[in-house]
């Protein structure tokens, strides 16, 4: 009796590879965040043994009221008027610091609006240098100013 020998060819089964690959793609597409994480950068002043003492008269003080209104050097002002007000002062003294001081119950978003406007100041007002923005915390205000 003659037996028929079955030929077995060596091969790696790859039929399900595409399915696995597409499952992985779907997983990555679902978990991926397309929007780049971005924000307004802000560098707190570094520790200095002799920090410069800034008198309030030498600076521009922007106070943010609880309702979001701005008081700039004790005068009410709209956000879009801010750069025009600052331009002549900063042309005379580019190092004049601009201090942002929000009230405790003011909305955080308003502080960011003001900081964003000041960061655009160099471009909008055609200034030579970036505006020196200072955002002291309440503890710093209590310990340094009063």
């Amino acid at each position: 009796m003659k037996f028929k020998r079955e030929r077995v060819t060596d091969e790696i089964p790859t039929s399900s590879m595409a399915d696995i690959a597409f499952l992985l793609i779907i997983y990555f597409m679902i978990t991926m965040t397309f929007t780049a994480t971005r924000g307004l950068d802000f560098a707190p002043p570094k520790d200095d043994d002799n920090p410069p003492i800034i008198e309030r008269e030498d600076s521009v003080l922007i106070e943010i009221q609880p309702n979001g209104d701005l008081i700039v050097d004790q005068r009410p002002m709209r956000l879009d008027e801010l750069i025009d007000y600052l331009k002549p002062k900063l042309e005379r003294n580019p190092e004049k610091p601009v201090i942002i001081r929000p009230e405790a119950s003011a909305p955080y978003g308003r502080m960011v609006d003001v900081m964003d406007e000041l960061r655009q100041g160099k471009e909008k007002a055609g200034l030579k240098e970036e505006i020196r923005i200072s955002l002291p915390t309440q503890r710093e205000i209590d310990s340094l100013w009063f």
């Binding site: 790859t14 590879m17 595409a18 690959a21 597409f22 992985l24 793609i25 990555f28 597409m29 978990t31 991926m32 965040t33 780049a36 994480t37 971005r38 924000g39 307004l40 950068d41 802000f42 560098a43 707190p44 570094k46 520790d47 943010i64 709209r78 956000l79 879009d80 929000p102 009230e103 405790a104 119950s105 003011a106 909305p107 955080y108 978003g109 502080m111 960011v112 609006d113 900081m115 964003d116 960061r119 655009q120 955002l135 915390t137 309440q138 503890r139 710093e140």
Partner: protein, 146 residues
Amino acid sequence: MRLGAKNEYQPSIPTASMADIAFLLIIFFMLTITYEVDKTQLTIPKTQIRMEVPKKAAYVSVDPNGRLRVSNGEEMSALVPGVEDVLSFAASIIATDPGKAFVLKADTETEYRNVDEVLDALKRAKVEIIYLLSNAETVDDATSGE
């Protein structure tokens, strides 16, 4: 004259390169993926100045009720009871990585006092750079802002 037997072609979609394409897509997603370490749903402020946040930056989020969450940029954010915990968290990170960037993610309606306490804690921990997380401001947002 007989021109020979007609070749019959079976219609089929070529799928041989599908796995290659799928694996290329997987490699793309694996290289570009960034996992969101803080999934707190907040209405963050909109700004025109937006700098890209470095990868694996640490997160501190503040919700409208003043609840605080922290993440070292690699693990999911966790709730912390108070601002002193933010200080110790930031100090421990800065001790190992002095140049680590921090992202402050706060709701636009959060009272500034909550953000002020966090900023103060980060300054005391000697954090060198803080990003105030924001969305892109459109022209419509800018004109309706005032």
